[in-house]
Amino acid sequence: MAGLELLSDQGYRVDGRRAGELRKIQARMGVFAQADGSAYIEQGNTKALAVVYGPHEIRGSRARALPDRALVNCQYSSATFSTGERKRRPHGDRKSCEMGLQLRQTFEAAILTQLHPRSQIDIYVQVLQADGGTYAACVNAATLAVLDAGIPMRDFVCACSAGFVDGTALADLSHVEEATGGPQLALALLPASGQIALLEMDARLHEDHLEQVLEAAARASRDVHTVLDRVVRQHVQEASVLLGD
């Protein structure tokens, strides 16, 4: 049995997409009433739920309060049933801690934290089904949730992953593509200004190819932005129709 061909000669990927095409994205905002903001997103078969509380007073130790800006607190968790094999994932394991930190960095860069000094913003993200690109799904879900909460941000934060196979950059990797062990790059972008909120890669990739992969990820992130923008507008319209009544 030959190994899986990630990119065929005709330019198709395993699931039928072409190199630069995204998976299907569906999203909804305001899924929970009791939270300040919430959103649910599906990117292909990766599904994530994000909930935002705040800005509110610092809970717990007051010493953590920052005099000039708000504290952003992120927590990531993934459901036991999120992968093919059911596996218990305790809170506070290394992977989810790291993801939490990455999310925190991403959103500290995007939220206008100086508007709410000495207060706290909580972002909780849970992955319900993992099929590649969990970081990207989390960021996108959290963006929508933060928007839903009405917290001022510089811009949307849109994230997407990209990989590199046979000299071609592939956007938005699925689990099958991730699992083959090639390099994977995660990018969170502020699309309007083109600024990078977070860039992460932990595999070896030749410097020469970096630009190409980065470009693919950035283009994909902009595409994500178009979709998210449409979701937000629709949500606002629905909300305003309800208010108008």
Partner: protein, 1057 residues
């Protein structure tokens, strides 16, 4: 817009649990159909694939093969006659899943090959073709259903204008779908061939033989009885074993002279890293080899030390069985057995059917016949055919299908007939097939791309090109120096003084890439051929003659496109100040011959009247022009000397020269070209070419550090020099092999004034010890490894012969891209990525090796045919002087300077008698024993007489031919006297070893032709000779290059290990 579907897969995990996996599957409304009948080619994005291939429009139907057909009959679908084939993605994936990578790559290459009229239709990604697999439906049924559905869609898509024939092996499918859609026919493969291609005999035969061999295999597997071989270990276990160091991975190399018993596994890089094995691993016997064939990548398990065996040092022939065990074995070496095969390297094999008597002795199973491959290293192959008797006297191509553990020999099927045994054409075809060289004439589609140059419609420089290129026609004196009679001039030179007093040296190379567009038909063909093949009596061009001998060739007095490298040199020190690369237009003023150029250089102007360019000039202008030319040649020589001296200081090896001419003799038949004393102009031209190659290498490497094609020559392993050092010691010389400079110097010193052949032999041994120079992609190895050992340059490539080497074409494209990159215009799309280039380099290296082997084999063929007709007992020519150059336990290896033959001579014959020489030196066979020492061998008879042969002793040998039905004939040598051969004209022969290969070839060719054309003697033989002369009419630089290649040639020790 894409539509999303989900596929649910049930996989079994390593722990045996079932895992439910949901995968996405995206469908799209339009997928390239690649048919010219497509109603909306724009929405289909036709022709936007990697190669932009479309089906041709002149077919009567499209053929859609079912998955089973693709799996089993791929080699028939490979026939270029079968046109309009649409491979469905479902079928391709079935091949990928079930037939392994080799078969799948074959299919991929077929699809990529622009010459072959077939396309892939990605039906599973098309929204109306995709059918999800139903519950309980078997994989096979679903695949057939999908393919039929896609075929029907394709028919409707082409608006019913083209009937579609789906070919399947599934009877049920024929029943079920046969009449479902009008215009889509479903028939069996056999039926298809009968109805649509009744005349394609080769395909029918192939189909027959595939069917038969499959039936046999099925029968066999049912009655599987006692196993001949252990089963192979599964792939996962192999991979794990290699990682843990339990198994070792390597390439299997069978010993040609003991094909039954000995094979070696050459280790591959990474796996040998941690184990402390340095040498190869011996695989002893067929059982341990476990069904692997020469060239396979195998996985080996080492045996315990107590079972290790030594390799054999005796000369082959006496087939091993009756030798006293351990007698002639060397030290035990690591021994192992094959546990699995990672990659099978089966190719087409040339075989011979056994003669009638043998067939009868094989008895009841007359349907299955054991055929003997031409290559000794390949085991016999079992074929089932009814044509055995008819094919008796022919050389035949077969393919191996399988090798079950229950079967002693592999199963194969018959493919095609090459020619009669012993017939020149048949034997040459054999050599070509054995080296996987395919040289069909250029097709019409390929020739259509060629420029036209006829007297009515002459080829001209276009005005657009005139603007883009630098015009050197008026400003530069450009000339070429080549051997006389040369037609394909790749390279020209120029030199002139600049206004500031500096000099400008220019090398102008034929601009082949202007005519050969990337991915054009001719480009693909040239890439497949990779090089021009020179056999003993003919050549197969890489490019059609219109390019190689006309429009690309830089002939005198006509405008031609060129790619130039020009250096500005300091007027006194000749330091390089500036370099310019670019496309130019030149008009070569003189097409000089080496001899004429040398005469001009020496100040001998009597040759002027032989130079055609000077003929029609009046006296005064002739004088002026002559002076200009002579100045240029002198200057050029001066510059070349300087560059050469600089390179020599770094330790460039001087392996060309008189000595290597002899080497060249053995394998190449161009002796009459090589002057006895090489002229200085040869070196001048060669030096300029090396300079150009070097600077181009630097340029492309700087511009494309990870995808440039360069050529490297790794430094040799010191241990390979030990034989050379031992031999030299026997004569009292010391060879220092520590660096290339030391080696060159000590070889110069190792000269026996009484016997010039000693030095020649030492040099040829030195050459053999070196590794091959190779093309490589700069992205695939570290910069320290780029070094060229022989030329003592840090970077080197091939740039100067694009007419006969594909590597040069790639380098030209790289250089052009590098120049445009400087100008901030990116033309990158035509360049290869590192990975593709690596693949291509491997291919070119491979083809070069094949070219060298075929050349060597064809020369041997001619040698044998030459001696075959002579009676060794009577013919004077068959007795000659030879020099012993290596000692084995039961014989010696002898070099015959007169014919350039190397061969083995036995001191013990088949009956166990040893040689003994009387006082007059004449030899007889007597009972006795042999004793071998470091550099001599002594034969002692029971009567107490003894004779000793030392290294470099001259002996008299008789040359005869040992004929063989199944293999190539071989030259046999027999020592008839221990004294040098003393005919009155020996001296003469030694001075001019002039019964040369070329004469030999001519003689053989003539006799062959005479035999064939006995009735029509009128055939103009001389014309043919003219053609052969052309073969040799290559520029001397090429020749020197070849010598260099040769130095790096894998001259596997031809006789005995």
């Amino acid at each position: 817009m894409l539509q999303k579907r989900e596929k649910v897969l049930l996989l079994r995990t390593f722990h045996g649990r079932t895992l439910r996996i949901v995968r996405e599957h995206y469908l799209r409304p339009s997928v390239p159909c690649n048919s010219p009948l497509c109603p909306q080619p724009a929405t289909c994005h036709n022709g936007q694939g990697p190669d932009g291939k479309l089906l041709s429009s002149d077919v009567t139907h499209y053929m859609v093969p079912d998955w089973k057909v693709v799996q089993d009959y791929l080699e028939i679908l490979d026939f270029p006659e079968l046109k309009g084939i649409v491979f469905m993605q479902t079928a391709c994936q079935a091949v990928q899943r079930q037939r392994g990578r080799r078969q799948y790559n074959k299919l991929r290459n077929l699809l990529k090959d622009a010459r072959h009229d077939c396309v892939l239709f990605a039906n599973e990604f098309q929204q109306s073709c995709y059918l999800p697999r139903e519950r309980g439906e078997s994989m096979e049924k679903w695949q057939s259903r999908s393919i039929y559905n896609a075929a029907a869609w394709y028919y409707h898509h082409c608006q019913h204008r083209m009937p579609i024939v789906m070919v399947t092996e599934d009877e049920e499918a024929i029943q079920q779908y046969g009449s479902e859609t009008e215009g889509v026919f479903v028939i069996s493969f056999k039926n298809y061939l009968d109805n649509f291609w009744p005349d394609l005999k080769a395909a029918h035969e192939l189909c027959e033989s595939i069917l038969q061999s499959r039936r046999e295999r099925e029968n066999e597997s049912q009655e599987s009885h006692g196993k001949e071989y252990p089963e192979h270990v599964p792939l996962e276990v192999l991979e794990a074993g290699i990682k843990s160091g339990r198994y070792i991975q390597g390439t299997l190399n069978v010993n040609k002279h003991r094909a039954q018993m000995e094979a070696f596994v050459r280790l591959q890089g990474a796996s040998s890293k941690d184990s402390d094995l340095i040498s190869d691993i011996l695989i002893h016997g067929m059982k341990a080899r476990n069904r692997s064939i020469h060239g396979d990548v195998v996985v080996v398990e080492l045996l315990p030390k107590s079972e290790w065996k030594g390799r054999t040092a005796a000369l082959g022939e006496s087939d091993g069985d009756d030798r006293a065990p351990g007698e002639s074995l060397s030290e035990p070496m690591p021994t192992g057995r094959v546990v699995g095969i990672l990659q099978k390297n089966w190719r087409d094999y040339v075989v011979t059917f056994p003669s009638i008597e043998e067939v009868q002795s094989q008895g009841k199973n007359a349907q299955k016949i054991l055929v003997t491959p031409w290559d000794y290293r390949i085991p016999k192959i079992r074929i089932s055919t009814q044509q055995a008797e008819a094919l008796q006297d022919f050389r035949v191509v077969v393919r191996i299908d399988s090798w079950e553990s229950t079967s002693m020999y592999p199963n194969g099927h018959f493919v095609r007939v090459l020619g009669r045994i012993g017939d020149l054409e048949g034997e040459i075809a054999t050599i070509l097939v054995e080296n996987s060289i395919s040289v069909v004439p250029f097709s019409e589609a390929q020739m259509c791309e060629m420029p036209v140059n006829t007297p009515e419609n002459p080829w001209k420089v276009s005005s657009q090109e005139e603007q883009e290129r630098k015009d050197l026609r008026k400003t530069h004196l450009v000339f070429s120096i080549d051997p006389s009679g040369c037609e394909d001039v790749d390279d020209t030179l120029s030199v002139r003084a600049l206004d500031n007093g500096n000099l400008e040296l220019g090398v102008h190379i034929a601009d082949v890439t202007h005519f050969v567009a990337p991915h054009s038909y001719i480009d693909i063909e040239a890439r497949t051929r990779a090089t021009t093949y020179y056999l003993a009596d003919r050549r197969y061009d890489m490019l059609p003659a219109i390019l190689s001998a006309d429009v690309c060739s830089l002939l005198g007095g006509v405008d031609r496109y060129a790619v130039s490298v020009m250096w500005e040199l300091d007027k006194t020190s000749y330091e390089i100040k500036k370099v310019w690369y670019g496309r130019t237009i030149i008009r070569s003023a003189y097409k000089l011959f080496y001899e004429a150029a040398q005469d001009l250089l020496d100040g001998n102007f009597s040759v002027v009247k032989d130079i055609p360019e000077f003929k029609d000039l009046e006296e005064r202008s002739r004088q002026a022009k002559l002076e200009e030319l002579v100045w240029a040649i002198r200057k050029l020589t001066d510059i070349a000397r300087h560059i050469r001296a600089k390179r020599d200081r770094c330790g460039a090896l001087e392996l060309e020269g008189v000595e290597v001419c002899i080497q060249l003799d053995e394998k190449k038949n161009i002796h009459d070209l090589i002057p006895k004393q090489p002229l200085e102009v040869h070196e001048t031209v060669a030096e300029c070419m090396i300079l150009a190659n070097h600077w181009v290498a630097k340029k492309i490497w700087e511009s494309f550090p990870h995808q440039a094609l360069l050529r490297r020559h790794p430094p040799p392993h010191q241990e390979f020099f030990s034989e050379l050092r031992e031999c030299a010691k026997a004569k009292g010389f010391f060879i220092d092999t520590r660096s290339n400079k030391a080696l060159a110097d000590s070889l110069d010193n190792a000269n026996d004034p009484n016997d010039p052949i000693v030095n020649k032999l030492l040099r040829s041994m030195a050459t053999q010890a070196m590794s091959n120079a190779l093309y490589f992609s700069t992205g695939s190895c570290a910069e320290e490894e780029f070094h060229h050992y022989g030329l003592a340059l840090d970077k080197y490539t091939h740039f100067t012969s694009p007419i006969r080497r594909y590597s040069d074409i790639i380098v030209h494209r790289l250089l052009m891209a590098a120049i445009s990159k400087d100008k901030k215009m990116e033309i990158k799309e035509n360049l290869f990525s590192n990975k593709d280039l690596e693949e291509l380099c491997r291919h070119i290296n491979n083809r070069n090796r094949a070219a060298q082997h075929s050349q060597k084999q064809s020369t041997e063929l001619f040698q044998c045919m030459y001696f075959k007709d002579k009676d060794p007992e009577t013919e004077e020519r068959c007795i000659s002087d030879g020099v012993i150059y290596s000692i084995r336990t039961n014989g010696v290896l002898v070099f015959i300077p007169r014919f350039g033959i190397k061969g083995a001579a036995y001191l013990r014959n088949k009956d166990g008698l040893v040689i003994s020489c009387g006082p007059d030196g004449h030899s007889e066979w007597k009972p006795g024993s042999l004793q071998r020492f470091q550099n001599k061998i002594t034969s002692t008879t029971t009567g107490g007489e003894s004779v000793t042969f030392h290294l470099f002793d001259h002996v008299t040998v008789r040359i005869s031919v040992q004929t063989s039905r199944c293999h190539s004939d071989t030259i046999r040598l027999e020592i008839i006297s221990s004294k040098p051969h003393m005919t009155p004209d020996t001296e003469l022969f030694q001075q001019s070893p002039l019964l040369l290969k070329s004469d030999l070839v001519k003689e053989v060719t003539r006799s062959v032709e005479e035999a064939q054309l006995a009735q029509e003697v009128e055939v103009n033989i001389t014309e043919d000779y003219q053609k052969y002369c052309q073969t040799k009419g290559r520029s001397l630089y090429t020749l020197l290059e070849e010598i260099r290649d040769l130095a790096l040639l894998d001259v596997s020790n031809s006789y005995g290990m």
